[in-house]
């Protein structure tokens, strides 16, 4: 990412954060209000600085594109993000183990090496899912007494 774009994005994000927190700070009073308002002000000023720095870099043209930019596999990235959000949502409904089985298996199937055939991918994903779920149950629940999340149904 060009540094001017990074500056602009960081500036906008900072300002959005500051605005969201500022809107929530109306009901506050006392020291807590002063403290958080001070932080919001600091972030706003910093965000504005980054915004102007980004614009200045953009206008002056002194912003070469990065040489070693690594391409991002956005498809894989959005899949894992969506899978994790679904996972957290599913846990609340069907419990930890059913949700884990579903997510581990589907993620392993989708994200694994495309060169592997369907049979191999299914077998590996099934083994991986079983090993993970069983070992988590033994180590965390039975040995360490660490609770796993429960859902509405299970």
């Amino acid at each position: 990412m060009r540094s001017s774009v990074a500056d602009l994005a960081a500036g906008v994000l900072s300002l959005l954060f500051a605005a969201a927190f500022y809107l929530q700070s109306a009901k506050l009073s006392g020291v807590g209000h002063d403290y958080s308002l001070g932080l919001i002000l600091f972030i706003t000023l910093g965000g504005l600085f980054l915004l102007f720095r980004g614009i200045r870099k953009r206008l002056s043209g002194s912003d070469p594109s990065p040489e070693d930019a690594e391409p991002t596999a956005y498809g894989r990235l959005f899949f894992i993000l969506a899978a994790t959000v679904t996972y957290a949502g599913f846990i609340s409904l069907v419990g930890f183990y059913i949700a884990s089985t579903f997510i581990l298996f589907s993620s392993a199937m989708v994200l694994n090496d495309a060169d592997w055939g369907w049979k191999k991918r299914t077998l590996v994903a099934a083994i991986f899912t079983t090993v993970m779920c069983v070992s988590v149950w033994i180590v965390f629940v039975k040995f360490l007494y660490v609770p796993t999340p429960e859902g509405l149904l299970f």
Binding site: M1, A6, A9, A10, L13, S14, F17, A20, F21, Q24, S25, K27, L28, S29, G30, V31, G32, Y35, S36, L39, F42, I43, G46, G47, F49, L50, R53, E70, P71, T72, A73, Y74, L77, I80, L81, T84, V85, Y87, A88, I91, S92, F96, S100, I103, L104, S107, A108, L111, N112, D113, F128, M132, V136, F140, L144, Y145, V146, P147, T148, P149
Partner: protein, 509 residues
Amino acid sequence: MWEFIPTAIGNLFLPLNIFLLIAGMVGGIIIGALPGLTATMGVALMVPVTFAMDTTSGLIMLGSIYCGAIYGGANAAILVCTPGTPSSVATTFDGWPMCQNGEADKALIVSLLSSAFGGFMGTVFLLFLAAPLALFAVRFGGPETFWVCLFGLSTIAVMTKGNMVKGLISGALGLLLATVGLDPYSATPRFTFGHYALISGVEVVPAMIGLFSFSQVLYLIGTHKPFIAKYSPVPGMLMHVVREMASKCKVIMARSTVIGTLVGMLPGAGGAIASIIAYNETKRWDKKPERFGTGIIEGVAAPETANNAVIGGALIPTLTLGIPGCAVAAVMLGALTAKGIQPGVKLFTVTGEMAYTFIMSLFAANLIMIPVGLLLIKIMARLLSIRLTFVAIGIIMFSVIGAYAIRNSMLDVWIVIVFGVIGYIGNRVGLDNGGMALGIILGPMIEEGFSRSVSLSRAHDDSVLQVFWNSNIALVFIFLTLLSLLTPFFLEWKRKRMATHEPKGSQHP
């Protein structure tokens, strides 16, 4: 004191105590290496088990778990850029780059040896300097705590050299995110964005898992790498690392031990703060600070020495004054009082044999850590030979369990996801996750120190500002904070000056 030492050493050689030392160490390292399972949790889990033993044996096991867990966090920090415990956040700064450079085994050995050194020397402080240091620690009131934390936060300026504004904004964002929940001053909910569950605030551990672990999963999955990093163990690496550390890290480890012990003594502060301050100080005093973050052993040795030295430091006020220096020390204090033992002078006189056996066991635990750690390193490093996809999905599953285990709340799982996305986007736009983490860790202490100082000024009818620089300790930390903030400018000025004086012919192309 000396009359108890021979008996204390003798107690360590009882077969049961040797077994508890080793078992505690293995368990501690494993717990520490699992993201979300903290040293506090490991020690707290084992407290009920100690009720079936005599107090000395119970304390030996708890101490061993504590040492093991703090060290264990470094393994995950180095191998998957996931701090196993908050104390290992700073270890990711150079440990993870070392792993990516194919030097995972070297980084793991450095973390092991420096942890053992820090833990051992921290215990020396506990043994010999407990009383005077404890009296120094109680002089820290609201303003002093505020300045110590601000000094810790000012390290961002050095950590993010070349991009200080983004570093400082990241720190401020962390501080602001730490204010979510109940206002400690007025007990009113704030920044809950309409979600009642957020009234309990943002827990540090899920936030760290999100910022460092889940964001890393997103990054790794977004690459096309088949494995996390290349793992090529080199025969004789242990001796090679020992020699390298002996030549490069002597001063760093000594300084980090002192930092760890002093920070450990302050109630509420802990390994996370100590390790970040130690990392920063190492970077500040280095002749080539730009090497930090690229994967150098000094960047692993400093935080790991400091976070294990915290153990001795945290136990000083715990055992002498009954004021726990950190959460784990508080749990151990609870275990002691449950047995009817009160901290203070009597602990070292009436029950001196038990107290000194415990202290001696900490020495032993740090020595045992080396062979046990070396054995476990070989097993844990195998993680790098597993395909990236499986590791990434596995990390997500462990992150969910670890985050949920903190408060048995699904809110923490969502916090992991949200902070993961924040961390990933932040990384992409150049914001500093380390700075944000520091803000989240230090936020509650800074706000508490600020609120207490304001209350103090109102109670004494002083001006608010006067309270903040009323004591010598506060003045020292104000000076150190200013020094820390000005360091990047000074280094830049020095670099430019050297460049101007350098003859043109000697400049690199």
